[in-house]
């Protein structure tokens, strides 16, 4: 024990040397600098813009790559504005005979649509070794030998960097990369439907890839339908009409990638060092990835070559009052550097936020769920302590839905071929929809951070209706200006009409057993499955939750072996087509291996869907959507679960933040009041030293009697009395 004393002293002095705050997890050199601190939970898998499709990768990727279009930061409903494009693309549509069609022409006449995109001149790439050139204009790092790469471990080990102007060819190069057989772009099949040239390109490239293990040269190939008009203009020709294509142009799938980057990273020896475009993005955006250690931290630094962009001056009503227009016209980005630290466990993450070491919660993080409570009325309730700390909470409904789907191929809930059985199965589905109180689910398990869904279209997206017109008449009724869930009696009645009075099969007396398939993280945990079982106990229905691991779950869905399943969908873009296609017959999971996991097929719905798909927003489209929604509500192939609310929890010193899941390139807009942050951190993190003192005192107190004892024993031994 005595020996531990000096150690304790060393410990104390060592800590005291760190300044007034002992628990600052960042290096002292970063103190007082214009750095934003954030965290990520899951390591990003792909940073290659043709591959990345997940929310946590978007946090990085959207700051680095600049697609032609972007969403307006403040306006709602979401509005597309030019990004790296100089203006919104010009769309021309042609019929079979090659005649240009007027804007009012119906989509069925359109044989092809031509998008012409002009990009802003003068945009520069971030400094990057792939673009470094010698004095004679040849690429500096083009033909590297094994010896050249000897000492290289990270990208920064290449001493020279270079840049060049963004050209239309870079966009075209990236579109070709969608077809790259080794990159597995998740949207390839979808885009290739409209750009058949990509399919031929992929075949050619795949043949080439089978012959050689080296890098594939995309520049040797041309793709019909994609052409470079001039240095700053390119043109895409799509088969048929696809108005939603503009939304895709706001995603990194269509961001520019210089062919030099592929040439650079394609050299032998690069991939072995983890030097790939998948890990080292190269973009024209406001930030560039300066440190890439997905195990511990990722750092985005200001791109010195960024063109500079003015902060928007218009927003939706209320933005001015919220101070969101204060920086109108100022040059973005505001923050020099953003440090993302890997935080695997929720408790440290949350506590560091409370201590002021994270400026705001991550966008897609679930770790703060426990902290943020909302009441059923949707009002925010942060605890008083948190409000005193100046923590603010912003929320908005995400364009996504979580639902419980009925597998229509199942004989019990789907009904089978017999029309009368189908009608009964519909009643059963309606009964279950009424019985499962999603409002209570949202209030218990999501702390109120969600809106119960009436139909598949999330609020804020065209087609979703508010108020009385927007309710699901099967499950809700409108009373005193509120949507009120129908009572369990209604469910009981429907259940009896479906042939299951009191939850028993009217013919056999067997109890009705419903099986819900889900993953342990979905509804599978103890609390949720207990809650679900409780919902049905009153009706006499036996509700069994089967939690299986993700792959097994997918298997069941794919083979159509599930009965009820819990699923979610995140909209790719704010258009009802992207939600309603989930129930389109042509997307049926089992038959067409599409996205319609419920295997729901309804001829009228499918016909309306085809019509609605390419209609422009307006009263006519709304009418079609209303009819489609009504069909779904009556047929109840899903229990429309809830639309989760996105939230952002932030300290008072973070400015210009606005939630909105569609807008992902948010970093450039944000600003930090550094002085306020430093003051708050100092105030909240005063070390409490008395426990250390107490520990020392306790050690002394323990040692004293021991010492006495020791002396006595020593003496006794000396006298020969020891044992």
């Amino acid at each position: 024990m005595l020996r531990r004393f000096p150690l304790l002293l060393v410990f104390c002095t060592f800590l005291a040397a760190c300044g007034p705050v002992w628990n600052d997890p960042y290096p002292a050199s970063e103190q007082g600098r214009n750095i934003m601190y954030s965290a990520f939970t899951d390591r990003p898998k792909h940073l290659d813009p043709v591959q990345s499709y997940s929310e946590d990768e978007a946090t990085f990727l959207y700051q680095i790559y600049e697609p032609p279009l972007q969403y307006h930061y403040l306006k709602r409903p979401y509005t597309l504005v030019p990004g790296s494009a100089a203006a919104m693309p010009v769309v021309r549509r042609y019929d079979e005979g090659g005649r240009e069609l007027p804007v009012s022409a119906p989509a069925s006449q359109v044989a092809m649509s031509v998008y012409e995109i002009r990009i802003r001149p003068g945009i520069l790439y971030q400094p990057h070794p792939a673009l470094a050139r010698r004095a004679d204009g040849t690429l500096r790092y083009a033909a590297l030998s094994a010896a050249d790469l000897e000492d290289v471990r990270v990208l920064a080990d290449f001493a020279e960097t270079g840049t060049r102007e963004l050209e239309a060819g870079d966009f075209v190069h990236q579109i070709k990369r969608l077809a790259h057989p080794r990159l597995h772009s998740p949207i390839f099949e979808l885009i290739a439907e409209y750009l058949p040239g990509l399919k031929t390109l992929q075949k050619a490239l795949a043949a080439e890839a089978a012959r050689t293990s080296g890098a594939l040269d995309l520049e040797r190939h041309t793709v019909p339908g994609i052409e470079i008009v001039d240095r700053h203009t390119y043109r895409i020709t799509l088969k048929g009409a696809y108005p939603q294509f503009l939304y895709w142009l706001s995603m990194p799938f269509f961001a520019p990638v210089p062919p030099e980057a592929d040439r650079f990273f394609g050299q032998p020896g690069m991939a072995e060092r983890n030097l790939t475009l998948d890990w080292w993005p190269i973009g024209t955006g406001p930030y560039m990835l300066s440190e890439n250690n997905p195990n511990a931290r990722m750092v985005l630094a200001r791109n010195p070559n960024f063109r500079g962009e003015g902060f928007p001056c218009e927003g939706e009503p209320g933005d001015r009052e919220a101070g969101l227009l204060a920086d109108c016209g100022k040059t973005m980005p505001f923050i020099d550097k953003v440090v993302f630290t890997r935080e695997r466990e929720g408790i440290p993450y949350w506590n560091k936020f409370l201590q002021g070491y994270y400026d705001a919660s991550g966008v897609s993080s679930d770790n703060f769920d426990q902290a943020v409570t909302m009441t059923s009325q949707g009002e925010v309730s942060l605890s008083d302590d948190m409000r005193d700390q100046g923590i603010q909470l912003l929320t908005s409904v995400s364009p996504s839905i979580f639902y419980l789907g009925f597998n229509m191929l199942d004989s019990v809930v789907g009904g089978g071929p017999d029309a009368e059985a189908q009608a009964r199965a519909r009643k059963l589905r309606q009964a279950i929809s009424v019985a499962l109180d999603m409002d209570e689910f949202v209030s218990i398990f999501l702390n109120g951070r969600g809106v119960t869904a009436m139909h598949p279209i999330p609020p804020g997206i065209f087609g979703a209706r508010e108020g009385e017109a927007g309710i699901n008449p099967v499950v809700y009724e409108w009373r005193d200006g509120h949507a009120v869930r129908r009572s369990k009696d209604v469910a009981r009645r429907l259940l009896a009409e479906a042939g299951y009075p009191d939850g028993r099969d009217a013919r056999t007396g067997e109890p009705l057993i419903l099986n819900l398939d889900t993953t342990p993280g979905g509804l599978g945990d103890k609390a949720r499955s207990d809650w679900l079982a409780k919902q049905f106990r009153e009706l006499g229905v036996q509700f069994v939750v089967r939690a299986t691991d993700y792959n097994r779950f997918q298997d069941k869905i794919r083979e159509g072996n599930a009965q009820l399943f819990f699923f979610g969908w995140n909209a790719d873009y704010p258009d009802p087509e992207n939600m309603l296609f989930l129930l389109h017959g042509a997307q049926a999971k089992v038959k067409e291996s599409g996205q319609n996991a419920a295997n729901y097929v309804n001829a009228e719905y499918d016909r309306l869907f085809e019509k609605m798909k390419s209609m422009p927003d307006g009263a006519e489209r709304q009418a079609v959507i209303d009819r489609m929604v009504a069909i779904l509500q009556q047929d109840a192939p899903w229990i429309f679960g809830f639309h989760p609310k996105a939230y952002s929890l932030q300290h008072g010193w973070v400015l210009n933040r606005k939630t909105g899941s569609m807008v992902r390139n948010t970093l450039k807009y944000q600003r930090i009041d550094i002085e306020r942050r430093d003051a708050a951190r100092g105030q909240w993190n005063r070390p409490i030293v008395w426990p250390l003192m107490l520990l020392a005192a306790l050690a002394a107190a323990a040692i004293a009697p021991a010492f006495v004892h020791y002396r006595r024993r020593e003496r006794a031994t000396a006298l020969g009395g020891g044992r």
Partner: protein, 325 residues
């Protein structure tokens, strides 16, 4: 001795093949190549063609153990087992599902793991031995009794509670150290103080009790009685004779775990955000990235075997009567 070590290493070969077979069998039952592809390609918009392409590219389209379609030795080598498992013997682990080179990743992560595990090991050994010595010194007194009770109480607490409680108390309530994180170099000390302290405290109960019994066994031997009879004081007997002799079983007992220190600690690393091999393993289990798990299993078994050999060698070093042949 060289011949002995060589023979042991050769003996290790069938063991490693066995380990490989077991893990291979287990993991391929769990995860068919189709599953792996789906896991990697994400949730949205995955087509069967994309899965096929992924399998071909990663070499998972081959048969498991025997390739009837291939020629000659290709029947054995052109299989998933040969390509994915046996290549590990050359320490060629291939790529993780996210495309990063596994061997490189392991090299990167070994540092943080060791930075946590080594101080924990040394300090833990030191603390436990000291505590055990104190208990033995005061044996059969109330100090000994309550000391043992304390040990048993401490080992009855789940390590989860030590971590959650320690983090909450020291980092949150008292704001003495950062809650989690890691920095390379000397700065790491700030982040490591708490996890090391917690790991040491969590381990001291069972270790000290074990060492105490070893000391007690040693103290009942004849030479100790002789030493006492010579009139040596209790302190001298304990520190000069008993400690020295009891360290032999203690040291040879812990030698086997030294190589395994490289593997890091699963729980502590995840809780404290230390980017070591332990958290790598947890990530791989959660993501079902079996290329990484297989590599970790392989490294783990190699280290275990190295530990066994080291144990044998350490016996000869401390006890001249043991000879390796």
């Amino acid at each position: 001795m060289f011949a002995y070590v060589l023979r042991r290493l050769l003996y290790a070969l069938p063991i490693l093949i066995g380990v490989n077979l077991v893990t291979f069998a287990l993991f391929f039952v769990v995860n068919s190549p189709d599953d792996m592809a789906r896991m990697q390609l994400g949730v949205k918009r995955v087509t069967p063609e994309a899965i096929e392409r992924w399998k071909v590219e990663r070499g998972y389209d081959r048969p498991l153990f025997f390739n009837a379609a291939a020629q000659g030795s290709g029947q054995v080598t052109e299989t998933i087992f040969f390509q994915k498992s046996l290549r590990m013997f050359t320490f060629d682990f291939g790529r993780a599902d996210d495309g990063r080179d596994i061997a490189q990743e392991m090299r990167d992560r070994m540092g943080p793991s060791l930075a946590l595990a080594l101080p924990t090991f040394i300090l833990g050994l030191f603390t436990s031995v000291t505590f055990a010595l104190i208990l033995v010194f005061f044996r059969a007194s109330y100090l000994d009794f309550w000391g043992v009770v304390l040990c048993v109480a401490m080992m009855s607490i789940s390590s989860l509670f030590y971590i959650i409680g320690g983090q909450w108390l020291v980092s949150k309530l008292w704001a003495l150290v950062p809650i989690s994180g890691y920095a390379p170099g000397l700065d790491a000390a700030r982040f490591l103080v708490l996890p090391v302290a917690i790991s040491v405290i969590a381990g001291v109960g069972s270790n000290a009790r074990w060492y105490r019994t070893i000391f007690l066994e040693e103290i009942s031997r004849d030479y100790v009685r002789t030493a006492r009879a010579k009139g040596l004081s209790e302190r001298v007997v304990l520190f000069r004779h008993v400690l020295k002799n009891a360290m032999i079983p203690i040291l040879t007992g812990v030698v086997v775990v030294i190589p395994l220190l490289f593997m890091g600690s699963l729980l502590v690393e995840s809780f404290f955000g230390i980017p070591g091999l332990g958290s790598y393993t947890i990530d791989a289990i959660n993501a079902q990235d079996f290329a990484v798990v297989r590599a970790m299993v392989f490294i783990g078994s190699v280290l275990y075997i190295v530990g066994l050999i080291l144990t044998d060698i350490s016996y000869t070093l401390v006890d001249p009567r043991v000879r390796l042949e």
